[in-house]
């Protein structure tokens, strides 16, 4: 009988109950060309080792749950094909820069708190009564923030950012990009409020434009660009206020 092709996945393991520190476990599983890394992990969990712990949901690159470090690169495991590594080994580890809970699942509390800080929702000073109809937008008003609205909160950008690695206080790429997304939304009136958090030393000014966040982003949000634009806007406003102090802001 011809032997089936196989591939080896080396998965990080860590059980706080009995492991002093993270270790790895090697699994050799059947390989098919159409498998993604997540399929491999699910095969392991279903047929080889049910204790392997990891997050996943939509398996189609929209929920942002399955981010892990694959061969050193922050990746959505549902979007990364085994054939790109075959016949080599695939090392799957938890996402970098976040505390490890178990195996491949990390603690995302820090990101969630930072997300709340930037108030990623429409802020209005005055609400239009429902009878007056919806807040309309022209196509170009939509285009102004559209790219930044694609963020799926997968945190790959945080795993790629050396500033976040060294500086846990840093707001981080996704939070800043989402803050900007709402600042640019014509329906929003909360830019000043958000800039209190964004235009701080732990916000945009910590960023040194390494740019790796935009490289790993699976949705082409380009958070590096969002941060740079915020720096430019904030700086121009600063100088404008200096020269024309009677202006607004």
């Amino acid at each position: 009988m011809a032997s089936e092709p196989t591939i080896t996945i080396i998965a990080a393991r860590y059980s706080p109950e009995h492991d002093a520190k993270p270790r790895t476990q090697s699994y050799t599983i059947p390989y098919r060309e159409d498998m993604v890394v997540l399929d491999g992990l699910n095969y392991i969990k279903s047929y080889v080792d049910g204790s392997l712990t990891f997050r996943w949901s939509c398996r189609m690159g929209i929920c942002g749950s399955c981010g892990m470090t694959v061969n050193g690169v922050p990746t959505l495991t549902c979007a990364s094909f085994l054939r790109d590594f075959y016949p080599g080994e695939v090392v799957v580890e938890p996402l970098a820069n976040f505390p490890l809970i178990r195996d491949l699942a990390i603690d995302m509390t820090d990101f969630m708190e930072k997300l709340k800080l930037v108030k990623p929702w429409i802020i209005r000073e005055d609400e239009k009564p429902v009878a007056q109809g919806p807040y309309s937008q022209t196509p170009s008003q939509l285009e102004a923030y559209d790219q930044y609205s694609a963020c799926i909160n997968c945190m790959l950008c945080y795993a790629a950012c050396p500033v976040y690695a060294m500086e846990p206080e840093f707001l981080g790429p996704a939070a800043i990009a989402l803050g900007r997304r709402y600042n640019l939304d014509s329906r929003d009136q909360g830019a000043l409020e958000r800039l209190r958090v964004l235009a701080t030393s732990d916000g945009i000014w910590d960023c040194t434009f390494v740019g790796e966040c935009s490289v790993v982003c699976p949705k082409n949000v380009d958070p590096a660009k969002a941060i740079q634009q915020t720096k430019v806007d904030t700086t121009m406003n600063w100088y404008k206020n200096l020269v024309l102090p009677w202006g607004r802001r």
Partner: protein
């Protein structure tokens, strides 16, 4: 630890970043040409003005030239200062941040003053 996030926009960073960006832009556009033509091809035979005393003196007598040189050099110092202050963090030096920032911007200010002094004290034309 959310307290540091709520202190309001930083009052001084935009100033330094503006100088950094201006310095980066000016040096990006002009520095390579100066270095190549004046200091590499010049010694190789290119008749650059700066290789000759009389021509340098005549050229730098022009106040616009002096202004340009002041902008180019002093903004390059501020560009360095802002970059370098964060660069040391990339090497793992995460402490003494205010001291390092003060050292960097302080040096840049001294450099800019030195540049001003040099350019103001340049002699005019002979006649």
């Amino acid at each position: 630890m959310t307290t540091s996030h709520d202190q309001g926009p930083d009052r001084t960073e935009p100033f330094w970043w503006g100088l950094f960006a201006a310095g980066g832009g000016l040096t990006a556009l002009f520095a390579p040409a100066h270095i190549l033509f004046q200091h590499l091809l010049g010694p190789g035979g290119l008749p650059a003005a700066t290789a000759n005393y009389q021509r340098t003196r005549a050229l730098t007598a022009n106040p616009l030239v002096r202004l340009y040189l002041f902008a180019l050099t002093s903004l390059s110092f501020f560009h360095w200062a802002h970059r370098f202050r964060y660069y040391v963090m990339d090497f793992g030096v995460l402490g003494a941040r205010r001291a390092i920032a003060a050292l960097c911007y302080g040096s840049a200010i001294l450099g800019a003053l030195g540049a001003a002094r040099t350019l103001i004290r340049l002699p005019g034309r002979d006649e």
